[in-house]
Structures are given as C-alpha cells and as structure tokens.
Amino acid sequence: MIHYVLRRLFLLLFVLFSLSVLTFSLSFLFPGDPLNNLSGYQEITVNQLAILERKYKIESDYFTQYIAFLRRVFSGDLGISFNSQAPVFEQVNRIFPATVELAVYSLLVSIIIGIPLGIISAYYHRRLPDTVILTTTLVGYSLPVFWWALLIIFTFSLHFGWFPSSGRIGLVYEVPHISGFILVDILRSDIIYKYEALKNALMHMALPTLVLTTYPTTVLIRYTRGSMLNVLETNYIKTARAKGLSPFQVLLHHGLRNALLPVIRLIGLQFSSLITLAMITEVIFSWPGVGRWLIESIYQRDYPAIQGGLLAIATFVIIVTITSDILYKWFNPVSRTQVDGKF
C-alpha cells in the first residue's frame, strides 16, 4: 500500500511539474510581451521596468526564469489581472470556494439520489422499475447541460417565478466574507435577518444545484447498477441465497458493501467533471465562481488571469483525482493486489 501511495505521489509531482512548465510557457506562447503577460502590468513605465525585470529575471535564461516563477507561485504571487489590476491569487482564492460549494452540494445530492436508485434498478433487473430508471438516465446523460439549465430557468424562474435565476444571494443581504462558503458564512456571521438570508441563499442555490446534479446522478445510477449486477452474479451471493436468506437480506448484507466499493472511486472522478460542468452552469446562473471568472478572462484575453485560473482549477482537479484513487485502494484491498503487483 505504501508503495502504491508513493508511486501515486510521484505521479502527482510529475504532473504538477508538467502543469507548472505549461503554465509558465503560456506567458511566452500568448501574444504580447512575456513580461506583460507574467506581471499583468500592461503599460510598464521606465522605472517599473527595471524592478520588474529584476523580479521576473527576464534577462536570464529560461531555467532561472522558471525557478523564479515557481518561487512566486509558492509565495502566492500570480501577477495582477489585466482587467481589474487586482492580484490574481487573491481573486482566485476569494471565488474558488463558491465553485467548490456548488460542486459539493450537487455531488451530495447526486449521491443521495443516485445510489439508492441504482440499487433499486439492479434489484428489479429487467423489470419495469429498472427500465424506467435506465431510460430516464439515458435521457439525463444525453442532455447538454447549458440547454438543460436554460430549460430549468425558463420553467421555474421565468414561467412560474418560484426561484431566482441568477446570483448567489439577494443584494439586500450583506454577508461578510470569511470562508467563502456562503451557507457557512451566514451561519457563522451575526447579521440580523440571519434565517431570511439563509433561506434566500438556499433559493438561489436550488436551480444551479439541480442542473449540476443531473449528470453525476445519472452516471452514479448507471454505475451503481452495473456494479451491483456484477456482484449479484458472484458465487458468494448464490451461497447466501442457498443458505436461505431472502433477496433483500442478501442485497443488504452481502451485495451492498461489495458493490459500493467501485462507486467510491467514481465519486472522486465525478468531482472533476462536476467542476467542468460547474463552469458552464456558473456562466448561465451568474454564479460568482472561478469558472465564470476564467471564461470571462478568456473573452477579455486577460492572460495573467487565464494562467492563474487554469493553474488553480487543474491543480485542484488533479489532486482530487489522485486522492480518490488512493482512498479507493485503501478501502478495497482486492483492487490493490490486482493492479499493483505488476509494474
């Protein structure tokens, strides 16, 4: 197991290294002067030039520049944005929790709905409930997320007017920014109308969460079903049935814990696709998260911001993926021996 963890960590380092090289070289690949792209100052005065050249070591060879770049990344300096002239690192830090919050809630919802439905579907294999669930998931799986979001807005926000269609919380509420997770912030703050604010934030969250949860839920249902069916075909299940246990007991005591193991891994993998889908959802619902911010930076050719956003999102996705891989092996010794014995 330690061997495996070390190897995964080595892979993590390798990928993060490639990612940093890529991000670094972006300043040279993007149009314009590398110094502008690295620092974010668009008009550099003569006085600044000397300071910036020393800071970014632009006269030295690429290797020295790259080391200087790494130093700056670790000290939390990603230059300033072309547009707002505010430090990129602080901006990313400030808005990243909003995206993670949306993704985590959607993931929770999809786990709560997806796993039971997958189990039901496997339990009634090839009978009516199974067919209905499978057809629904196929439809959910094929829906383009932006169109689905518009459909939801049209129905629940424009037509019925039940939920707000944009933003994170009503403008009348002023919630201090502590952790960046709005529900936590509201609960921890001591503003008046705390519960109204909470309710308002939940209303704003409902539609984006519903949109975002559709894809992972369908994937979870299909995956849980498949994994459950595989387990139900094994010999120990037949033994348990032959022992005289009812199908339900077998499902609960023997099937479930074995079938859910592969699902753990999938949940980790889903997180990265959730972050991607969240980018689109954020754009539609004007959710102030890192995805919308990155996409706006792409429109405005704000190179320091694009670099910072890419670095943040990619690092996050990679770390989550590798962590979930390690956790999966931790929980499931069988998979360890299968893949790990061979190098």
Binding site: S142, W147, I153, S272, I275, L277
Partner: protein, 297 residues
Amino acid sequence: MASFKTYYDEQNLSPMRQLWVLFKQRHPARIGLYLFLLLLVLAVLAPFISPYSPYAHDQTALLLPPAWSDEGKVEYMLGTDDLGRDILSRLMNGASLTFGLSIVSVLIAMAFGLVLGAFAGLSKGVKSSMLNHVLDLALSIPSLLIAIIIVAMLGPGLANTVWAIILSSLPRFVHTIRNAVHDELQKEYAIAYRLDGATMFQVLIHAILPNIFQSIIVVATMSVSNAILDIAALGFLRLGAQAPSAEWGAMVAESLDQLYSAPWTIALPGILIFLAVLSTNLVGDGLASALKRRLDK
C-alpha cells in the same frame, strides 16, 4: 415467421459480423442507429437541401414562430430568429458543423490513437508503465476541461475547437488501444503468427487489428457523443464557433436574449443536440452490450 433450422450449422462469422448480429437484436440500439444515420445524411447533404442560406436575412419576417402556430408562415417551417434567418436551414447546416465535425475530429483522434496506442502497446518496461499512469490521469480529467484549456491557449474559434476535441479525446483511444494490443499479444494466435515468422508490423495489421477493432468502435462512439456535447458547449460559451455560424451551441447562445419572447429559437437547436447525443449514446450502449455478450458467449 421464424426460419426453421433442420441441420445444425456452425456459424463462423467474422468478429464484426457477430457484433452486428448481436447489435441488431436490441431495438433501442437499432432506432438509435437509424437516427444517427439520418443525422449523418443530413450533415453531408445539408448545404444542398436546405431551403434558404443559413445566413440569409429576411427583414419582413423577424422572429416568426414555427408554422404550426397561428402567426407562423409555412415558408418558414420552423420559424425565424431575430435577424430573420430561417431556423430550419440553420439547423440543417448546423448538423454538418456540430455533428459532422465531431465525427470528423473523433476519426482523426482515432487515427492518431491507433498509431500511438500500437507503439505504446508494443513497448514494455518503465517507459510504458509511466505512459500508462499519465494516461490514466489524463483520462480522469474531463474532456471539456482539456478543451477549454486548449481554447484558452489558442484563442476562440471553430478550428481551434476541433483541435481541442481531437487532443482531448486522444488519451482515451491511446489507452484503450494500448491495453487491447497488449492483451492480444499475450494470446496464442498472436504468438503463433510470430512463430510463423511474421514481423511485429504484420502481426499488428493482420492478427491484432481485426480483433480489437470492435472495442475501438465502441470507444469511438462514446467519444462522438462527448465531442458533440463539447463542441456545442464551447459554441455556447462563445469559445468555439463564432456568431453568425449555424453551430447548434452557438445558435442557442445567440438567441439567449429571446429565451422568453421566442423560446423556439433556443428549444429547437437544443433538441437537436439532445437527439444527436441520445442517438450516439444508444448506438454506443448497444455496441458495448453486444460486445460484452459476444465475449461472454
């Protein structure tokens, strides 16, 4: 009437034929295939059969609803958008952009993947293991994210989107083909070929490729449905196809202001994206399950 078999005759069909026999037993998969073929024909013929040019404006017919509505006109079967462009023609031409381009880019990715995957499958040792781990990781990163990163680097545009789609669907092909080649090489028929004196290249072309082609097809179908969603999503985010283009995602983005006043301008392209993805998924699911049943037999 079911055919009556007097004699037991052994069926020795080629792997692809066997797959087809099993595939067509499932009706949803067949319906998906017909829909897929229909869209394919549309994608090829669209410029010749669409009633108007997708860019032609008609100032006298702005925001006409579809023909079945009372205000609609039969000349514009599915209505017009805010610039008076015929939606039916735009949707037809969009088929060649969204659907056609995704198939083309997946085919290109498949060709690259074959070459790279075959090389990787033949190599051994630390190099190959390292490659496998990196591929594993690349696979777990969603293709749309890779595509957005590539578009962020290259700049918005449909051509860059196609590159992005090719690059982001490549890891899956390389991974599948590498593993398949690796597994088949261990089998006895491949060893027999090599003992007969065939070179590695001949083994690859004559022995291995026909046997792994079906799994490549399954992966390709799955990649097409991803590619459609990605091209449309990038078009919607205005990172892919740009404004006057009739790409379905870009059409939705362009009509965003009319979500309430003219819902059909958004609903119709969305339905087509949905149908394209659904049909591809049906075919993909059908192929995957047919493949599984064939191998189980």
